[in-house]
Amino acid sequence: MIFDMPSCGGCRTCEMACSFKHEEEFAPSISSVKIIDRDEGPGFRVILLEETGKEGMACDGCKEFAVPMCMQYCPESRDLREILDQFTRRGEASRRAPPPPGHGRGKET
């Protein structure tokens, strides 16, 4: 799922933290969260992976932690929390009733 995060400064520390949670090493290439540039407008885009693949590992919401790893390392953690909540809600919704093609990608941009 892709989300807009206008407050994101693009530090990508969340990617490192996420990979550490998965494998106890710092490797953004396996991270469940990806920060990508926007062509225009403030902030960056946040991708959360729903499935494990060549782009990285699926986001499991860090249920073992009170605060997900990516949030622990985000200076704008409240906004990232909102994105994670949306990700969880939409994931649950799609499992209950799979949406038609072209939907279910968060706040599409």
Partner: protein, 643 residues
Amino acid sequence: MDSCGPIYAYAGKILRINLSDGRISTEPTSAYAREWLGASGIAIKILYDELRSWVTPYEPANKIVFSAGALVGTTAPGACKSNISTLGPMTGGWASSCSDSYAGGELKYAGYDSIVIEGRAHTPVYLWICDDSVELRDARRLWGKTTWETLEGVRKELGDEKLHSASIGPAGENLVRGACVIQDRGRAFGRCGTGAVMGSKNLKAIVVKGTGAIRVARPKRFMETNARLRRMFDSVKSVEGMQKYGTLRGLDSKQRICGINFKNFQECTLPEEMIKAVDPCPMIDKYEVGRQSFPGCAFGCGRRLHVTEGPYAGLETECNQMEVLLTLQTRLAVQEPTFMLKANAYCNQMGLDVDAAGGPIGWAMECYQRGILTEKDTDGLKLTWGDAGVILDLIRKISFREGFGDVLAEGCARAADRVGRDSSYYAMHIKGQDLYEPCRGSLGWSLGTTTSTRGGGHTTGATLDGRIVPEVKEKVSAIFGVQHPMPQEYEDKAKMVIFMEVLTRVNNCLGVCHFNTIYGDFDQMDLPHLAELYSEATGWDTSVEDLKQLTMRQVNLEKAFNLRHTSFDRKDDLPAPRELCEPIPKGTLAGWKMDEEKYHQMLDEYYDLHGWDRETSYPKRETLAELGLGYVAEDLEKIGKGR
């Protein structure tokens, strides 16, 4: 540690590339990493050992070492800094510049801590590293392009819009002495002229992508320390201001301590109408479109701006920090507040260090003001203070070495030598390196700036005197272990500068941004925190004393590197003559003038604490021996500089 054993925090390999014959090889980082802290620490060891005394900056025999800090690629606060070191064309000696951004992390994820670049390519090339794949690619189509165009060009050619580059612009290609290397569009390896050395090697850019991993030795403890240190930033009062305005929030403080460069150091404060006109904070509020931060940073002090009004409407750029405001805007007396954004962006595009623009242009404008230079010298340009169009034209002429720009491209010291006419008094430099730092009213700042092994500069030893105010005197005294921390006291400055030499080198070697440490705020990370992070990341228990030993070894080798390649001695560690001769004309310190005799006593104390000879500044044999540099003492004996 066994040099063949596992290594943590470091990527593990140093990549060596010979541009002349295309040879590529690797060697283990562990061969260096116990005796030399990462990045610039490893770089000075490689360059000292491998560059013979006859090598000059633009020869193929010179080498460039591009490195990522030891903690880069991890979540350690502020660990996003890379370093480029070489034999530099500004001072003719040690050249070492750092820059925050993404390329360092990518290098480590690709498996390398450093790249040693040797030789000279026959035609322009760029270096493309993607994990184990290392390739020299044809850059003839990119030659002549700006750094921004180069970034777009390599991304397009390699089919990846997310790639990061460190590139040179026309200034580097044209061997402008102060040419820099730019990461992506806006982060400079400034000063020292590393871009010119890249240009001399026909190396247009380094592009790197890594998909591997960095492991730390004690993962659980490393992350606990990370979490604890990050919580510490929550209570740091300056963080909010840094997030909003970066170092630009400190203009009032600079005005208070008479630390502003106005009209090429003629004054150290701004006139009232000028300070109102150039106040950057309202401009940032008006044009900010987003934040900009780099890996690991605990708060993020960058901003992206889109200028929508005025002469530079349409400009989209990352906002600069304080140095640009003081070296290009106030030094040259430009009132239009968005000028610094435009001039900084243009310098970045050209790959020209902002101080290598502001320095010689400031000198030229003052010479023009005094009638030393006339339009006959300047290609018909009237070098009037504040003329933004003329300044931008001079930046272009410097970058292409066109006409009068060819003189300025040498830096103010050599330009003054070339022009003569007693103009050298107005050339503000240390060891040939253009200076933006006013030194008159701040003794620790001055001592650290002028003794810097890389030539003038405040980032390798100067105390940050704007923050040393009576309210924090006790805290500052405790941190530095001194009784007299205030900026106008000659006592204890030598000790404070040596403390800062350690701190800044630890930061540079670990790849930690200064502004996440007590360099930026006395409540932020200090040496014990950095020692803890390094110990847990590498698994090598490293104390603060160990860090001091490692970095003092580094300082002494930098010093020896300079002694081998230059004629620097005590006189080159003094402030520019103007700073010693003239009192501060206006402001809170009006009338204050450095006492030359006391300044020399301060310098004596600095040499004594280092174990360097007072008369010459050269390290003593026993000092070098204690640091495990006995072979360096022998080298210095051979060139008549042993003490």
